[in-house]
């Protein structure tokens, strides 16, 4: 329970042999790099949790992935799939140590089907590379994340989300046609046709409540029916059900893009304009920044010279004729909401800046992000509520409208991670921001590890049930990216476990000893046998303390992360205020 690697040295050697020595590392300096995602976690959290992988492998083929998974399941080694680690929800955190499977060497473009308008790629290809290659063929994908220069296709499929193009074409879920997935037992399936393989896991109702680490997971009793295409099941499943090795995506012809920028004097005017624009036109990408965002950009000399500080970027895609009509309507609705349509140079500049939302980090020097989907209809209310709630914080919000009439609202809280305590306490902001969104009818943006308590509302009861059943049947030991999607327990670090053990072992005899000294009438009356008045009794009590210490460690290691975050949040909020005042 205390610590110790999950992978024994012989197993490391075998894994290196399977994947190839050049693509394997268990060296300490590498493990640090592969054990975190983009989020700058408060250092204290890193000290507290046991989140360091034992080894990293970069597989080069589906067959190797399959052999690795078989081996890991057999040897009870947790496996954590990883793209480029650009997501920030803890999806790649090795909660129970184990093997990180970095997919970036599986980065080929396997085929482009111009008839069906699809492209098949290795899961580890970077979006930027794919876009470049497609562009050479006069093609493109219908949606890509703003992290396109850095994130992998498989990573976005597994994390889920919306991005550029999603206002018109939907998020990544809508783009995936088929996946090649290696299930935890090493079976390779194509999700568009191998539904039968999954269906077999859903038969019967033999669910037994699972002890141990699965204690906090859900149990369901009904049968599920699935059709042959189970692609949807694997999208945004954060690698908890298997490793995605190939992705087939929809593609579209590369057409004209026309970015337009409008500025407004208030959030109210801007949100009304957004509603009008999305009702009357079909932007490819409809994005906004708040006045605070603009101010921060201005502080860095990066803000465009616009009349107002609330900025909308609407990019249209289509034929020249289509574009002309959209542009006209855009002008009309901007004017109607007292906005100004800015120059073409500004529009072009803002469009080119779409990949760089993090420039304002210079003001931090740290940024704590948080993201939530909010219905566009409630955006104004949401922004006001956030404004009210975070009076003492410095933050900026941007958002992009999706094809479902939602806004993916992304907040950037300025902070300084070098101020360790205050940064730790500031964590409450990310959680509160999501909460406000949920209260305004929204839903979580992505699940990963930190949002696992929101799985039920994110996936919906039915889908979560199916996912759970598949997980239990294919991965009963919970080794496939543990702690993701299904809220897992805290796995505390060796140091922290030792601290608990030490505290309990020493604390119990000390308290009893002091009680014997200070209030002998009480101890003698009720617990005379527990007062350490002789050396042998002291030893006996230390022994008891040790046993209780081990029990305390067991208990502490079973507390779900979500529970800790929920309970800790009011304290964080309070301490942060005190710290900053």
């Amino acid at each position: 329970m205390l610590d110790g690697r999950m992978i024994r040295v012989v197993n490391l050697r075998k894994l290196a042999e399977i994947v190839g020595e050049d693509y394997f590392s268990s060296e300490d300096y590498m493990l640090d790099l592969y054990s975190a995602d983009i989020a700058a976690l408060p250092e204290m959290v890193n000290d507290l949790l046991r989140t360091k992988a034992d080894a990293v492998a970069q597989p080069t083929s589906t067959e190797i992935v399959s052999r690795i998974l078989k081996y890991c399941m057999d040897k009870r080694i947790p496996v954590i799939p990883r793209g480029h680690g650009t997501s920030g929800y803890g999806g790649v955190v090795p909660t129970r140590r184990g093997l990180v499977l970095e997919m970036t060497r599986m980065n080929e473009i396997h085929s482009i089907d111009k008839g069906k308008m699809t492209v098949e790629v290795g899961a580890g290809i970077i979006w930027g590379h794919l876009l470049e290659e497609l562009e050479d063929e006069g093609l493109t994908v219908a949606a890509y994340p703003t992290s396109a220069p850095s994130s992998t296709v498989g990573g976005w499929v597994a994390a889920g989300g919306t991005g550029i193009g999603s206002t018109k074409y939907g998020g990544i879920r809508e783009q995936v046609v088929d996946l090649e997935v290696v299930l935890p037992d090493g079976t390779v399936i194509r999700t568009a046709k191998d539904g039968k393989v999954i269906a077999q896991f859903l038969k019967g109702s033999d669910y037994v409540f699972n002890p141990g680490h699965d204690l906090y997971q859900f149990g369901f009793l009904e049968d599920e029916r699935v059709n042959d295409n189970v692609t949807d099941l694997f999208v945004d499943s954060n690698g908890a059900l298997g490793v995605i090795t190939k992705v087939v995506l929809k593609i579209i012809p590369l057409r004209n893009l026309k970015p337009l920028v409008a500025s407004f004097r208030s959030g109210q005017l801007m949100t009304h304009a957004l509603e009008n624009i999305v009702a009357a036109t079909r932007p490819f990408f409809l994005h906004f920044i708040t006045g605070d965002f603009y101010q921060m950009q201005a502080e860095l000399g990066l803000a465009p010279k616009t009349s107002g500080e609330w900025i909308i970027l609407a990019t249209y895609e289509g034929t020249e004729d289509e574009l002309a009509g959209e542009v006209e309507k855009f002008h009309h609705f901007v004017n109607r909401n007292n906005g100004i349509v800015e120059s073409e140079e500004i529009a072009q500049h803002e469009w080119e800046e779409r990949f760089y939302p993090m420039r304002i980090k210079r003001l931090g020097p740290s940024l704590a992000p948080s993201e939530v989907y909010v219905p566009l209809d409630n955006l104004e209310e949401f922004l006001e509520a956030v404004d009210q709630h975070f009076k003492n914080e410095r933050y900026a919000i941007e958002g992009a409208v999706t094809n479902k009439g939602e806004v993916a609202a992304l907040a950037w809280f300025l902070d300084d991670e070098r101020k360790k305590i205050s940064f730790l306490m500031g964590w409450y902001r990310s959680l509160d921001f999501i909460d406000i969104g949920l209260k305004k009818g929204g839903r979580a943006y992505s699940i990963g590890m930190w949002n696992a308590p929101l799985s039920r509302s994110f996936y919906g009861e039915k889908r979560l049930k199916t996912m759970y059943k598949v997980k239990r049947q294919t991965d009963s030991k919970n080794l496939m990216n543990p702690g993701k999607v299904f809220s897992g327990p805290l796995n505390l670090s060796f140091r922290f476990n030792l601290l608990i053990l030490f505290a309990v072992t020493i604390a119990i005899p000390t308290v009893l000893f002091l009680a014997g000294l200070l209030v002998p009438e009480i101890t003698n009356a009720y617990i005379p046998w527990l007062v350490p008045d002789t050396f042998s009794k002291l030893l006996w009590l230390i022994g008891l303390g040790l046993i209780l210490g081990v029990v305390a460690i067991e208990v502490a290691n079973m507390i779900p992360i979500g529970f800790v975050l929920t309970m800790g949040r009011p304290f964080m909020r309070l301490f942060r205020r005190i710290w900053r005042s």
Binding site: Y29, D32, A36, A40, T86, R105, S147, P149, R362
Partner: protein, 405 residues
């Protein structure tokens, strides 16, 4: 701010904390492309540095290797949304590693030794530095225009020095050169952190005896004073590395002595572009080939010279200049810089080979560059991998087409 760092590795954390870990700089990183590991791109290196610094980890060979396996090409800085000054950070870091005796990596330290003893990193004798000069070259001792030849042309690719002087002579300029008084520009030393370094000599009994201290500042100041005392107020460069170092690094070292450089610097491609603009240049022959131009990092991204070389190339009759996908600010590095060629020779050649493939992809039969170091590395790749492409520098072309050879 309180520093939690080891005494011997006190690196300013304010610089590292700017990096957001976003990986935007990863996909075009020269070293990531070669090694494919999280430790081998700017964001990964900064994260690793942070882990070493904050956790007080002992500096081991992995760390040193990762820090030196970067060509300091600064594609990452170009990409970085936050403009983390990675180039400065990594050079500063290398300097710190050398100071605490952990750097430079591998055999790179030999360069410092050689510069200390012979004023060049190749180990050629100092007195032979001017041996490349052929009798036909006209060199004066009173012109206000100087030519900084550099170590690579002096010791490895003499044809570059010859072609450059012939080119200047063609325009009626008889430049001053420092000859054996020219010392290394110190580019390889600054890039690899060898700014101040004790120099040892092996004794007969195997022990090492300190024989002096390499001090980049004094070498640079020697060069500056030499040019100044000879009345040179404009220096021409054929090597982009020397040009970058003189333009961006020398002033820092000279300023410490309280001065600003007493001369201006000009790369030969800029010199030719001016001649072209003034109508003082007419090509004798044409070049009927499809060519592409490789922007050397030191000339392009670092100093901002992109268009002049292209203007010169385009003016050659019959030439068909095509661009590679990655050009100008986004140009891909040849892999030679930042000590990569000295420290990781094979990898540097792999990188050059991939750049050549990009040239071949656009149908170029000649790859033109304007840096001696790029040319050296490309030629090594051609030799090893047998690419069917000619590698030339602008001055080579000039010399050939003007029949100066």
């Amino acid at each position: 701010m309180r520093r939690l760092f080891t005494k011997n590795f006190d690196f300013d954390p304010d610089k590292i904390v700017m990096c957001s870990n976003c990986s935007t700089c990863r996909w075009t990183c020269t070293s990531y492309e070669e090694w494919g590991s999280e430790a081998m791109f700017a964001g990964g290196r900064l994260r690793m540095l942070r882990a070493y610094v904050e956790k007080n980890l002992p500096i081991d060979e992995h760390f040193v290797e990762a820090i030196y396996s970067c060509s300091v090409c600064e594609q990452c800085v170009e990409r970085c949304p936050i403009k983390v000054p990675y180039g400065e950070i990594v050079e500063d870091l290398r300097k710190r590693l050398v100071e605490i005796g952990k750097g430079p990596y591998g055999k790179l330290g030999a360069m410092g030794d050689r510069v200390f003893h012979e004023h060049n990193p190749y180990g050629g004798e100092a007195k032979e530095r001017a041996n490349w000069i052929t009798p036909d070259l006209k060199i004066s001792d009173d012109s206000n225009i100087g030519y900084f030849v550099g170590c690579t042309a002096s010791y490895r690719r003499p044809e570059i020095g010859v072609a450059t002087v012939r080119m200047l002579n063609h325009f009626g300029i008889e430049p001053q050169i420092l000859g054996t008084d020219e010392y290394c520009c110190c580019s390889p030393l600054i890039r690899t952190g060898q700014i101040v370094m004790p120099i040892f000599k092996k004794q007969e009994d195997g022990s090492k005896k300190k024989v002096g201290t390499l001090d980049v500042k004094s070498i640079i100041n020697h060069n500056i004073e030499e040019f100044k005392s000879r009345g040179v107020d404009q220096i021409i460069y054929s090597c982009s590395g020397c040009f970058r170092t003189t333009t961006l690094d020398w002033p820092k070292f000279y300023r410490e002595k309280g001065g600003i450089l007493p001369f201006s610097t000009q790369h030969l491609s800029q010199f030719l572009a001016v001649k072209l603009k003034k109508g003082e240049m007419k090509w004798k022959n044409g070049y009927n080939e499809r060519v592409t131009y490789h922007d050397p990092c030191h000339l392009g991204r670092h100093v901002g010279v992109f268009e002049e070389p292209r203007e010169v190339i385009k003016s050659i009759p019959g030439i068909d200049l095509v661009e590679m996908d990655r050009n100008r600010y986004e140009s891909k590095c040849c892999g030679a810089g930042g000590g990569l060629k000295g420290g990781f020779g094979e990898n540097a050649t792999n990188i050059a080979s991939r750049r050549i493939e990009q040239a071949l992809e656009v149908g170029a039969t000649t790859l033109i560059s304007s840096c001696v170091f790029c040319k050296l590395n490309f030629l090594d790749a051609v030799k090893r991998d047998g690419h069917d492409i000619k590698i030339v520098n602008i001055e080579d072309l000039f010399s050939d087409l003007m029949e100066l050879g």
